[in-house]
Symmetry: C2
Subunit: 516 residues, 2 copies
């Protein structure tokens, strides 16, 4: 076998059987190896941002890493923004970046680049497999790294000659996924003491604490002690809707975040970070909590968060049979008349299929969406985690590949959708069950608000041309059809609802341009 | 004034009056400053690869740098592939990358990234302007760096507080563009000696040596001495067509390149690099010249290449009034019948308007294009220089902004076009005079050849799905219309010619999908 075969075999031995790819010449032996490994599902993206964003969405829903296949430094660069989002969401991911043959680097051919310098800021681990003999061991290490809780970005550089040379080196064993370490009993006792001491305490959750089971434990703690539950503004995955413990998120606008947290005296972090401003604004603080708020890091994102919450409930003497309130299913009336962001959120809440995956990159238009769907049919809520827009459509595609039996609702701002619209083609190619709704406001609406927030005033003519996406307006039904995805446009609620019902009643990709 | 004003004023003082932009929150003060600087033309791209690719195309044709405005690390990352192409083409460029306010970095907000590590591999110079007072001096340095011959990539990191804080620091003087250093008389004499010694000698040109005037001098040298003229496989800009000195390019396929150079005994480099394989292939050499070929670096890309060639001609005793052969205008017969890559190239040669700019990212389909248009109406030929596909459409947009009175012919492979198709919207928004022809072969055709070249054989089912862009086929007329660009499809030569004639008879963007 050659190095490329060794890589495929090692990935498969580690349970990594989906590879999102945009290959080039230096990856041709890996591509050829795919023909000998039918177990490896290889999904083509027509741009690397699609590849890495899909790997992020896949891993969030599959709870295991996918591989990506990227072509030299520029191919990696194209995928970095969504690797950044994945890293911020603690997503496990294995990036295979093909490079020139080792001996060819000295010739400085046009695509020669410092791949490591590019990879480092968005990776937890970067390593080259310099020879075919080394490939399996380095790949096994990459898998172990990626699987280290809560999830890490491992970037493996694969020179072309390491892929094409023959190797007789035995395949390396892939260690089983590492267990999440338990939080110390001392830390649990300390947190319990603080909760018992009274005062306005917030239990701040993120990561694995936002699955149904740990959330329910947190709900019991809240019901018994009066602490408030809160989650980060951005979370990789949250089990949400009817039957689940309700939890609010820290709002994006700093004034609202500061107001929400104004009287918090104590914050206990369970897999979460203390809330900070997404951006800095002149004269406003960077930390969203009051200066005298006591912040306790109870559990790191990679810790056993369910165990931690259970131990905390036990320490607080809360019976395991206590019932905490969960959201009761409420389907709102279907909206009528003028199409607004809230009307779209209402329609989503009303028509939400059971066990859907809601992929939210609706940005400004969808700021209320999360609240609107709190009592909708149960669903997973996945969202942009690193602030690099252009994650939504690829993430929806990846989630659909991880969960072929679940409907994916991709709720998408138009400006952000344009970054990686090539994902629509992958949805069509793979026949993914994704309903995309484009919130078409024809502007970078977030920036209009931000211009005011940073004290730069109202936009004039030159500035306006940087914030508006009109003149010409994008036609999303044409863009979708050009990519092989059926699409329709709605300018009122009745049409939106009709299109949604039709799309939800059958499988496969569909796009609705909701003109708001 | 604030730091953003100081930046704008310094750029304008340095003659940088076009800014390609995709701003975010941290750049809002720069955007607000634009309202106070109507002289700065700000062009929005809906993805950063469009922004940087357009800046590349602009600078190649304007012979001066544009600025780009990018949002934090991920925004820069999205633009890196085309910055890489620009760097390989020695294009001057000034990237302004907004970052968090300096004091906000410690809070590790979601978009916090190591911008310098990302920028370094694709930049000649990276520097942060840490305070408003420092902005003008750092910007002046960036301009001087970018203008250093032959052209450099300068990346300036602008923290939000450096942009929004007030400054009373005087604006820094921007030094005039540096002159290109002369090649030493000794080097000229040495080269002349080698040419006089006889034997198969190739004068290898690139960069500024490929403009009409230096090419004509090189043509005189070739006519008088029998040396062969050759240019790199990839060049930033080449003045080509009728009335210009004909020059061949080193072919992309290594077997052809090696065959073309098989009997070269001596190669003299004038602003060029010695030819190497674009990629390595098992059992094939990295250098395209024979092992015993003597290679002389006569002039670096930043040297005075016209002066060098004139001095060389003088040293060789060639009269300045000697006439060297130039290409004579030949308009081929219009093609008919079945649409093939060569038929498209023939139509382009036949219908080429005077003084057009041909922007070539036709990749595999257009490999013969350059040869076909050697006797077409005079034009500038600009092409992908760094191998990172997705440069064509943005480059065409930038070239059209630099030269509003010239028709741009954007000849574009479909797979590459998908990388940065957002450029179509910028063409519509700015009403750019670009005719795009998509060579629609619905595959990464280059990779089919490369799979064989690297010895990986014929693609099976899994591999084929990585090389084909069909199922579904992209509909480029729909993608263009969705972006606001009028478009039509051609499946035979007669229709192609009719659409081309119509598009060439009027101004503004148009796209033809040529199904081959």
């Amino acid at each position: 076998m050659n190095g490329a075969d060794a890589l495929c075999d090692t990935l498969l031995a580690g349970g990594v059987d989906v590879c999102f790819a945009n290959p080039g010449t230096s990856e041709m032996h890996f591509v050829a190896a795919l023909d000998r490994k039918p177990q490896m599902r290889c999904v083509l993206g027509l741009f690397e941002g699609v590849v890495t964003g899909a790997a992020d969405g896949y891993a969030r829903m599959a709870d295991k890493p996918a591989a990506t296949l990227l072509h030299t430094g520029p191919g990696l660069a194209n995928g970095l923004a969504n690797i950044h989002n994945a890293k911020r969401g603690n997503t496990p991911m294995i990036n295979v970046v093909g490079d020139h043959a080792t001996y060819h680097l000295a010739y400085d051919a046009p695509l020669t680049t410092d791949i490591e310098s590019l990879a480092r800021p968005m990776s937890h681990w970067v390593k080259s497999a310099p020879t075919a003999d080394a490939v399996s061991a380095v790949a096994a290490e990459a898998i172990a790294e990626a699987r280290t809780p809560p999830g890490r970005i491992a970037t493996l550089i694969l020179p072309a000659d390491a892929a094409w040379n023959e190797t007789r080196a035995p395949l390396s064993n892939v260690p089983p996924p590492a267990a999440r370490p338990a939080v110390s009993q001392e830390a649990i006792r300390d947190a319990a003491r603080k909760i018992r001491a009274g005062g306005a305490t917030t239990l701040m959750l993120s990561g694995a604490a936002l699955r149904e089971k740990p959330l329910a434990v947190a709900g019991r703690i809240a019901a018994a002690t009066g602490v408030r539950l809160l989650s980060q503004q951005s979370n990789a995955r949250l089990e949400h809707g009817a039957g689940r413990t309700p939890i609010a998120r820290v709002p994006y606008p700093v004034d609202q975040a500061i107001a929400m947290l104004a009287d918090v005296q104590r914050m206990i972090l369970v897999g979460a970070k203390a809330p900070v401003g997404f951006f800095a604004y002149p004269g406003k603080p960077s930390a969203m909590t009051p200066a005298d708020c006591e912040i306790t890091r109870l559990a790191e994102p990679g810790d056993d968060l369910l165990g931690c919450l259970e131990a905390l409930a036990d320490e607080l003497g809360i019976s395991r049979t206590t019932q905490a309130p969960v959201a009761q299913l409420q389907r709102p009336e279907l909206p009528t008349g003028r199409l607004t962001p809230d009307a779209i959120a209402t329609a989503v809440a009303a028509l939400m299929p059971d066990n859907a995956i809601v992929c939210d990159e609706s940005v400004t238009s969808g700021r209320q969406l999360f609240r609107f769907i709190g009592a909708a049919a149960p669903h997973d809520y996945i969202q942009l985690t690193g602030g690099a827009i252009g994650s939504g459509l690829p993430m929806a595609a990846g989630a659909a590949i991880a969960c072929p039996d679940r409907k994916v609702l991709s709720l998408q701002a138009d400006g952000s959708a344009m970054y990686t619209l090539q994902a629509l083609w992958t949805m069509a190619r793979e026949d993914l069950d994704v309903l995309t709704i484009i919130f078409s406001n024809r502007s970078y609406a977030i920036l209009r608000g931000e211009l005011r927030q940073v004290g730069a005033g109202e936009p004039g003519r030159n500035a306006q041309r940087m914030l508006d996406l009109d003149n010409p307006a994008l036609d999303w039904t044409a863009l979708a059809k050009g990519s092989g995805v059926e699409a329709a446009r709605a300018t009122d609620c009745e049409t939106l609802v009709a299109h949604m019902k039709a799309a939800l009643s059958r499988r496969g990709p569909f796009l609705i341009e909701a003109a708001i």
